[in-house]
């Protein structure tokens, strides 16, 4: 994987940029000077550039073959270079590695922290940095929050339920599509459905709009008393509500939801929603 990333950096750097990066890689060899290393980590934006990787189909195919597959759709060259630097430090004794990697995060500006969070799941023993990943979710800087909450497998793999649920709620609050949360389905839970349901109540009481994708986490594990509201939004005039309510109900595993879905299917005019209903009916027992 490191080789693949390194190749991506090389193919996107200028000659001077690559020269600089080779020096940075040399600095990862023992003995590592922390200050120098942090300086190289920072320097990547200027030396390698912030342009998006803009992967070719062949490169995407190669990444998909990796285990686990890597989604670099939103990564830029500097971020890829930074990931390679972190991966080149794994030879350090564990305590030294942990200290340096944490320091790189703490001293980083928001783009450096974004790069760090995106690469976190690639590092050996990455669960040891859980507290930093959880803390990153407390930011109000949206792109920084997105770098941990979206297209990142880390939260679903390592976050405790409370922190995972807060991450999903925060995405909903900020209008970030929760479908961007990797492996959301694997972390659905009754408390998350309850929190989402309370949020809908709050929005309705305030006379405000409800995020249309909230049903994706609300519908699957909601207590039976909460289902009638999902069924109500299943007939909402906004097709996005109907779509996500249909998708959410498909994840409920509850055969009682077949009836309302079937009923909607007969009258549904929106093509995308029809397809979602069919998929959900096929999933439900």
């Amino acid at each position: 994987m490191k080789k693949t990333l390194l190749h991506l950096v090389k193919s996107r750097s200028t000659l001077e940029g690559w020269d600089w990066f080779e020096k940075a890689l040399q600095a990862t060899a023992a003995p590592v000077d922390s200050n120098v290393m942090i300086g190289y980590y920072t320097g990547a934006s200027r030396r390698l550039g912030k342009q998006a990787l803009d992967l070719t189909d062949a490169e995407k195919a190669r990444l998909d073959q990796l285990h686990p597959p890597l989604d670099l759709t939103r990564w830029a060259t500097d971020e890829t270079g930074r990931a390679v630097l972190l991966l080149s430090l794994t030879h350090l004794p564990r305590d030294d590695f942990d200290r340096l990697v944490a320091e790189i995060y703490r001293q980083g500006d928001s783009r450096e922290q974004q790069s760090w969070l995106r690469a976190l799941g690639l590092l050996p023993g990455c669960e040891r940095f859980l507290h930093l990943a959880v803390d990153a979710c407390r930011t109000n800087i949206i792109h920084l929050f997105e770098s941990i909450a979206c297209e990142n497998p880390y939260p679903a793999l390592y976050f405790p339920e409370l922190n995972f649920n807060q991450l999903v709620l925060k995405s909903l609050f900020n209008g970030i599509a929760i479908a961007r949360t990797v492996d959301l389905e694997s972390r659905l839970n009754p408390e998350l459905s309850r929190m989402a349901d309370d949020y809908v109540s709050e929005r309705e009481a305030a006379g405000r709009e409800v995020p249309t994708d909230i049903w994706l986490v609300l519908a699957p594990r909601i207590v039976p008393a909460g289902l009638h509201r999902v069924h109500r939004y299943l007939r909402h005039e906004n097709p996005d509500h109907r779509y996500w309510a249909a998708v959410g109900l498909g994840l409920s595993g509850d055969p009682a939801n077949r009836g309302p879905l079937q009923e909607l299917h007969d009258s549904e005019s929106d093509q995308k929603t029809r397809v979602a209903i069919e998929a959900s009916l096929a999933r439900l027992p």
Partner: protein, 294 residues
């Protein structure tokens, strides 16, 4: 009508805001210690922050005829940093005894973690020890549950409810707070929390006892004139003048007077402005002619 904004983060606002607030009728503010948008990593950063609230910011406000009070604490978000929370709570007592401190706050929940609950409870205890009221921030996410849990924490500590102000209420949390003896504040925000029209509707439904409003203006999208703007809407909605005055003046005065740090006789008089004064050699003026009340 005299107005009090009992929750506003003036350190993030400009002198133009101060001038507009004074023009709009605001003569007193409470600035709660909160988070600065960027996490702090040392207790020293809090010492400097507390001192700037107690010193420079109070002086800046006075230059516009506005009395500035503050509440001090480590906020819920940053209390998740255990080491930091420990250090800040340890140095808090000496700050709580300073002039201008009218409560402990904002304390409460953000993500509703165990760490947040621990430091929330500990700081409520401190308020008891130093005989100060408490300002409780209710969380943005999972607000109703967070409000119920906050009340439970206050009760567990055995802190007197009439010295507790629960902030950022909504249609759903206000009735829960009014069932207790706590006071209920509402942050009137441009896009989130509560707006002027909804606030007027709540006053019509629940009256004006123990109800406060504030702008909660900070570094985010917010409006330091939300208190006077809400007064206008309440008037237009036919709410009685004395009820409005109770909400925007008497209630905050009565609540924070429980600290013993807010002189009720004194606060009734608009402080006189003397912009020729300097705070440690710094003036808020940048070449303008100083305003001096005669």
């Amino acid at each position: 009508m005299k107005m009090f904004d009992p929750h506003i983060h003036m350190t993030s606002r400009t002198t133009t805001d101060y001038a507009a607030m004074a023009e709009g009728g605001i003569t007193a503010v409470v600035e709660p210690a909160f988070w600065l948008g960027q996490p702090r990593t040392t207790a020293g950063a809090f010492i400097d922050y507390f001192n700037s609230l107690l010193g420079w910011e109070r002086f800046r406000a006075s230059q516009f005829g506005i009395r500035h009070f503050c509440t001090l604490s480590i906020n819920p978000k940053e209390s998740n940093n255990q080491r930091l929370a420990e250090e800040v709570v340890e140095l808090l007592p000496r700050f709580l005894q300073k002039d201008g401190v009218v409560a402990v706050g904002e304390v409460g929940f953000d993500d509703q973690t165990d760490a947040e609950e621990k430091w929330f409870a500990r700081q409520v205890e401190l308020a008891g020890e130093y005989d100060l009221p408490v300002l409780v921030h209710t969380p943005h996410r999972d607000k109703k549950k967070g409000t119920i849990r906050s009340i439970a924490v206050i009760r567990d500590v055995g802190f007197p409810e009439e010295k507790v102000l629960i902030d950022h209420n909504t249609e759903e949390t206000l009735p829960i707070v009014l069932e207790t003896a706590c006071w209920a504040a509402h942050s009137i925000y441009p896009n989130t929390k509560m707006d002027e029209g909804r606030m007027a509707a709540l006053v019509k439904k629940y009256g004006c006892e123990r109800i406060l409003i504030n702008s909660a203006a900070d570094w985010g999208i917010s409006d330091p004139l939300k208190v006077p703007k809400t007064v206008q809407v309440m008037r237009a909605e036919g709410i009685a003048e004395e009820d409005i005055e109770k909400i925007v003046w008497q209630n905050p005065v009565d609540f924070f007077a429980q600290s013993g740090n807010l002189d009720v006789a004194d606060i009734d008089i608009r402080p006189s402005i003397d912009q020729t004064l300097m705070h440690d050699g710094n003036s808020v003026l940048r070449g303008q002619t100083p305003v001096v009340d005669s």
